[in-house]
């Protein structure tokens, strides 16, 4: 090290310090690793690939919708585009995004453990995810699926003419990856906490992932059996969901949404957890009403299982069932609103700094509020009948899934990037990207609320000419959004090599993960930390930026 005069001694020390990244270098050491941090990296790389693949389909959809006539692709091809976009984004990006990447990386550190309870199962879950991904990719390459991401019968059974079995197998396998991740988290959170880290002291990110894991563990098996029954129906030509053979297609919808509505909360609860961490850190205040925010995560997980019927308001479900599901759907808004109000109250009189993660958190709060409130519109029977299967629904869930979850995911990636990579990202570029994403997102999806309200149905590649202006706005927004998503990809990769070295705690954040070095050593802590005071206290004393 004598011939490197340009490197200052501090940097040299951090170069030499053993950490999980420089512990081993072979490809095998990555593919056979049981280190939760390395598995998180494996997930990060693979879900990023799937995110951009799913995004590519969205790009093609938006280009097609630039003009009222169907000119770029045939209607059949269009069906396949939106289906593959949905399947990849939901099952291969949104569901695993925050849990499998950020959760995997920080949960063991947040609870002061050396690893998750079952490291080998954790690795297995990544392999299952990849196997599921490969089956899905096969379906894409072979010619796609045209059922919509929901695999509704009879599109997916009697009238199917595409690669449903392969895609459904992919989703089935990826589901087991999700189950194993959830199982691992629940056991780890129960049994692996450092001495003194009681439930009441757990970071809110842990609470939200605990709620997520409950849904993953209890909901995903129902999706698995639903897809199994679908596969058996197609394979053996029997009529489980086929009315001509005595079956009932609405049963499929019930069983599908019994998983997939709670799964919507798999796709938002982790984001709420990230926002709770980020808001507290950059407002330098404890989250207002810790107990309520923690409890609302569990409440959302539980209530989420009782509302699936609101997807069946127009499917011939009884009107009384519809009314019950409508009321229950309103109830879910209560814990969600508690979170929004409490984040806002946290900001009140906080000393706020506008770092990149905080910008994403602000974006999340605003966009999730819009997405959540329009969800209430859709939970009311009368209005829902009016806008069922229109762009209003599309805009609503994209505000939650993309405006909420993807914002939070990016916020979380930036927040923990110094810990993950040991490097700082370029703050200016990151702020610009956050702003681009926010603007692009709103320009893409806000016009879709109006389109839907005016009656433009989803899943058509042609539309009446009077809708063109709003569609052009939406496509323009999508282009900006695409730039916003590509920027972090570029500067984060750049920062791995050229970024400034990150200190252990660049944000002055609380939580055990910031007490170990960046990047952390293989077993996270030199010795098991003992928690004597609240890890989550910001107000008690000013935390020093190390």
């Amino acid at each position: 090290m004598s011939a490197t005069p340009l490197v200052n001694p501090n940097e040299q020390a951090s170069i030499e310090k053993p950490n999980y990244l420089n512990a081993e270098h072979s490809i095998k050491s990555w593919l056979m690793t049981t280190d939760h941090k390395r598995i998180a990296i494996l997930y990060l790389i693979s879900i990023t690939l799937f995110f951009f693949l799913g995004g590519l389909f969205a790009v093609l959809i938006r280009i097609e919708l630039l003009t009222p006539v169907g000119d770029l692709v045939s209607s059949d091809m269009y069906n396949r585009l939106f289906t593959m976009h949905g399947i990849i984004m939901v099952f291969l990006f949104l569901v695993p995004s925050i849990p499998a990447v950020l959760g995997n990386f920080v949960i063991p550190m947040m609870i002061g453990a050396r690893d998750l309870a079952f490291p080998k199962i954790n690795l297995l879950s990544w392999y299952l995810y990849m196997a599921g991904g490969i089956f899905t990719l096969y379906a894409v390459v072979a010619g796609g699926v045209d059922t919509g991401w929901t695999f509704y019968t009879p599109y997916s059974s009697t009238y199917s003419n595409s690669y449903v079995l392969s895609a459904a197998t992919g989703v089935f396998i990826a589901g087991f990856s999700s189950i194993l991740t959830g199982l691992n988290f629940i056991v780890s959170i129960h049994k692996m906490r450092a001495p003194g880290l009681t439930w009441g002291k757990l970071p809110l990110f842990i609470w939200s992932l605990y709620g997520t894991s409950l849904i993953q563990v209890l909901g995903t098996p129902v999706l698995a059996i639903t897809l199994t029954l679908l596969g058996i129906e197609r394979f053996a030509h029997v009529g489980i969901f086929d009315p001509a053979l005595g079956g009932d297609p609405v049963l499929f919808q019930h069983m599908f949404w019994f998983y997939s509505h709670p799964a919507v909360y798999i796709m938002i609860l982790p984001g709420m957890g990230v926002v709770s961490e980020v808001v507290a850190c950059f407002a330098r205040k404890n989250v207002f009403g810790y107990g309520f925010v923690a409890g609302s995560s569990i409440a959302i997980a539980v209530l989420g299982f009782l509302v699936w019927g609101h997807h069946l308001f127009v499917s011939g479900q009884s009107i009384y069932a519809g009314m019950v599901f409508s009321v229950l759907s309103y109830f879910v808004a209560v814990p969600s609103a508690i979170k929004v109000f409490n984040w806002t109250a946290t900001l009140h009189r906080g000393s706020i700094s506008y770092d990149t993660p905080m910008l994403y958190a602000f974006g999340f709060i605003g966009l999730f509020t819009i997405g959540g409130l329009t969800g209430l519109f859709l939970a009311s029977l009368g209005f829902d009948v009016h806008v069922t299967d229109t762009y209003f629904v599309i805009a609503h869930f994209h505000y939650v899934m993309v405006g909420g979850m993807v914002m939070a995911y990016l916020g979380g990636i930036h927040f923990w990037w110094p810990k993950i990579s040991g490097r700082m990202y370029p703050e200016g570029w990151a702020k610009l990207a956050a702003l681009t994403v926010f603007l692009g997102f709103n320009l893409t999806f806000f016009p879709q609320f109006i389109l839907g309200y005016l009656g433009m149905p989803r899943r058509y590649h042609a539309y009446p000419p009077e809708f063109q202006v709003l569609n052009v706005m939406s496509t323009a927004g999508a282009s900006i959004l695409a730039v916003g998503y590509l920027m972090p990809l570029i500067y984060l990769i750049w920062s791995i090599k050229y970024g400034r070295r990150a200190p252990a705690n660049p944000w002055g954040a609380r939580g055990l993960e910031w007490e170990t070095s960046s990047p952390p050593p293989t077993y996270n802590f030199e010795e098991t930390p003992i928690v004597t005071e609240d890890t989550f206290k910001y107000s008690r004393e000013e935390v020093e930026v190390v």
């Binding site: 453990a113 079952f118 129902v222 059996i225 199994t228 009932d248």
Partner: protein, 216 residues
Amino acid sequence: MSEATALKHQFDDLEQQKESSTMGMWIFLATEIMFFGGMFTAYTMYRYLYPEAFGEASRHMNVLVGTINTAVLICSSLTMALGVRAAQLGEKRMVTRLLLATMFLGLVFLALKGYEYHEHWVDQMAPGFNYAMVGQHPREIELLFCFYFIMTGMHALHMVIGECLLTHLVIQNHRGDFSAGYYSPVDVVGLYWHFVDLVWIFLFPLLYLIGQHVEK
């Protein structure tokens, strides 16, 4: 394997490790309940829609073999429970004997199940592949047979997995991996085995018994 080498790096002590693996198995069983729950829900709905057809179909089940199988499985749960107890006490040879007995009973169950499947095949009651029922409700009866094969088939698949796990345990035990201080794999596989038995305890009356006396 001594107790020290049985301790995996992420745990502080064997107690924590044992608690974690037990809890992990309980949560896994919860997922299994939801998995089978989906089938039970669909079964219940169709049974509610077509009570006569389902009654008629259940009269085609071989109740005698089903009853014997129920008894066989309950016995296998007993030998499994005794096996766990023997593992707790560190009685290595006893553990091997009881695990082998459990495996044997499991295989008897699977053989009898296979015999039943064969009977249904011969009688042309295999939906989708070899089905030729006549009568008032051929489609609805086919649906019940569909659920019969899916549910008992899933159950049998779980039995086969259980047999594999037991084989692994017997090998581990033979190697001397277990002791009175470390036996949690036996414990955890025991939980799984009891769960699979319990599924059958629900399947047997639902598929074989409760339709027997519905009026034609």
